[in-house]
Symmetry: C2
Subunit: 127 residues, 2 copies
């Protein structure tokens, strides 16, 4: 059996994004923290790579959560050399579920001090 790890993994098309899967993905504290950190990065490059989340969980566990986030359509993975850069699929999500991602991120920001794994992130001011 051949195992290839260098190709860009598969992502669902915009139309294949499903609401229950997205909500389920966001309901895990670690994945919520990943999404939150990616959202915070948007004013800058919008991208983070796996290593940037080392505080959240072990490497293989992170790979597992990244796969979930990718497969439900929340984020996109771009392979570049030995790194994988990830970003939120904001346009696709906005097209499918208007206002949802922002509502979740704002809710997470509001509760940042309560949510495990988010405490260590910079807190974004939300009037």
């Amino acid at each position: 059996m051949i195992r290839v790890m260098s190709r860009t993994p598969r992502h669902p098309t915009r139309e294949q994004i499903e609401l229950p899967l997205v909500l389920d993905c966001l309901s895990d504290p670690i994945r919520l923290a990943i999404v939150y950190q990616l959202a915070q990065q948007e004013p800058v490059s919008g991208e983070l790579c796996c290593g940037d989340f080392n505080g959240l969980a072990g490497k293989s566990n992170l790979t597992y959560h990244f796969a979930k986030l990718r497969e439900c359509g929340l984020m996109l993975t771009r392979v570049a050399g030995t790194n994988r850069f990830m970003r939120l699929r904001r346009e696709d999500l906005e097209a499918r579920f208007p206002g949802l991602l922002d509502a979740v991120i704002r809710s997470a920001a509001k509760d940042a001090d309560r949510l495990q794994h988010l405490s260590e992130c910079e807190v974004v001011k939300v009037d």
Copy 2:
């Protein structure tokens, strides 16, 4: 052991409502359908009772899902005779997570024809 079933069950306070639990609750297709139907009922009484959801699952399974929805703070159960009336905790949710519930309900309405259990609900026009 005494089993009491006549009292109003416990609900979390507004402040006890937690984002990951709410999202997890909404990620189940049956529970999403329950929330959706409750939302559709809001222009009328806002209330539905257990029997109104008989199409979604068996009775004991519904009781299970109702408990989850109650315990995460999404809905409120009021005991009245042999019935239990349920309504969304819209004000509390809006206070804790502004815009979240509406974003989810609108997303569900948009995908009503795709989501299991929602097809049988009346479709609400969302410009």
